[in-house]
Amino acid sequence: KTKFPTARIKRIMQADEEVGKVAQQTPIAVGKALELFMVQLVSRSAEVAREKNSKRVSAQMLKQVVESDEQWDFLRDIVARV
């Protein structure tokens, strides 16, 4: 099964100036969490596509999913551009 590159994850984490050292295991943990996050976001978006009888998941559909759940408020700025 495909996994996210841990070196890249670590780099993204450390792009935040406040973030200092990161333990070796930590990007692995973050990668796993990211995987689960993606499963939810992707599945729900696909559901919207199915409901609309489309074979393509559009950015609008992603936006709809994000706006439908408080848990994903942190993504609103990103989808606002869609």
Partner: protein
């Protein structure tokens, strides 16, 4: 607040091909549903934002813990606080598995130390093995 451009800088983004692969692993091929390019790019931005969110929270937690290094514990606490507590069991399992793999790797690296031979002895052994191999090939 970070200022990400649409499409993102490669270094602070995730590889498109990897994300695409993961998306197809999540979606059943029977449904024939695919992500548009734009949707995939937005998805990548969301992923990066997720990492940033969790890191920031975990960083705060590690500071309050008087630790200079962000550890797995801080990540799981952060996930809990951010409303992603359901991810914690799987995350802990992944970290534990990785620890086991790491231990195995370190064991191999220590083979030299554990061989009980000095560097000279090992070099001599190597020379003998080279000579024997050369002899086999003439």
């Amino acid at each position: 607040m970070s200022d990400h451009e649409f499409g993102g800088n490669d270094d602070l983004s995730l590889p498109k091909a990897t994300v695409q692969k993961i998306v197809s692993e999540i979606l059943p091929s029977s449904a024939g549903i695919a992500f548009s390019k734009e949707a995939r790019d937005v998805l990548i931005e969301c992923c990066v934002e997720f990492i940033t969110l969790v890191s920031s929270e975990a960083n705060d937690i590690s500071e309050k813990d008087s630790k200079k290094t962000i550890a797995c514990d801080h990540i799981t606490k952060a996930l809990d606080r951010l409303g992603f507590g359901e991810y914690v069991p799987a995350v802990m399992e992944a970290a534990a598995e990785h620890k086991e793999v790491q231990k195995g790797r370190e064991k191999k690296a220590n083979k030299f130390e554990q061989s009980g031979m000095t560097l000279e002895e090992l070099e001599r052994l190597q020379q003998e093995q080279f000579a024997a191999a050369a002899a086999r090939h003439t």
